[in-house]
C-alpha cells in the first residue's frame, strides 16, 4: 500500500525545446482557428454572390421575355405550327389522360423541372425555326 502512494517522476529530455514546441503548436492551432473564421467569411460572401447571380439571371430571363413580348407577333410560322399543334395536342391529351389514371393528385413541379420544361419548349421552337 505504501509503495502505491509513492510518487514517480519521469525526466523530460530538452524541456525548453519541448515547451517551445508545445507553445508553437498552440500558436498554429490558434492560427488555424483564425483561418477557419476567415474561410467562413469567404464562404458567406460566396453564398451572397451566388444568390445575387441567381437574381440577376432571373431578371435577365424576365427581360428577355419582355423583349419577346415587345417584338411584333407574326404568323410567319403559322403553317408549320398548324401541322404540329393537333398532333401535339393529341399527344398531350393522351399523356394527360394517362397521368390522370396513374396519379390522381397532380404533383407540384420543382424549380428544376420548370426550367427543364421551359428549355425543351425553347428547343422545340428553335427546331421549328431551323
Amino acid at each position: 500500500m505504501a509503495k502505491e502512494e509513492e510518487l514517480l517522476f519521469v525526466g523530460v529530455k530538452e524541456p525548453l525545446e519541448l515547451r517551445r514546441t508545445i507553445l508553437e503548436s498552440s500558436k498554429d492551432v490558434i492560427e488555424s482557428l483564425q483561418r477557419y473564421e476567415k474561410f467562413r467569411a469567404i464562404r458567406e460572401e460566396t453564398t451572397k454572390n451566388i444568390e445575387k447571380l441567381k437574381v440577376d439571371v432571373k431578371e435577365i430571363s424576365k427581360l428577355i421575355s419582355k423583349l419577346k413580348s415587345e417584338l411584333p407577333t407574326t404568323s410567319l410560322r403559322a403553317e408549320e405550327m398548324k401541322e404540329e399543334i393537333p398532333e401535339r395536342g393529341k399527344a398531350v391529351k393522351a399523356k394527360k389522360a394517362k397521368k390522370k389514371e396513374e396519379k390522381p393528385q397532380q404533383r407540384v413541379l420543382t424549380e428544376l423541372e420548370k426550367l427543364e420544361a421551359e428549355l425543351s419548349d425553347i428547343e422545340s421552337k428553335l427546331g421549328r425555326i431551323k
Binding site: V10, K13, L18, S25, D28, E31, I60, E70, P72, L76
Partner: protein, 77 residues
Amino acid sequence: MAEPGAPVFVRIDEYKDVLDVMGLIKDKLNEARETLGRINELKNEEDSELELWDTTLEEIEKKVEAIDKNLFEPQIP
C-alpha cells in the same frame, strides 16, 4: 398570311421600348459578369486558404509527433 422570309416592321414607339429593354439586358449581363468574376476571386481565395490550412495542419502534426517522441523517450538519469 405572311410568307416566310418576309420583312418584319416594328412600330417606332415600340422600337424605342425594345431598345430600352435591350439596354437593361446588357446592364444586367454586365452585372452578372462582375458577380461571377467576384465568385471566381472568392473561390481562388478559398483554395489558397485551404492550402494554407493544409500546411498549418502538417506543421501541427510534426510538432505533436516531436512532443510525443520527446515524452515517450524519457531521460534516463
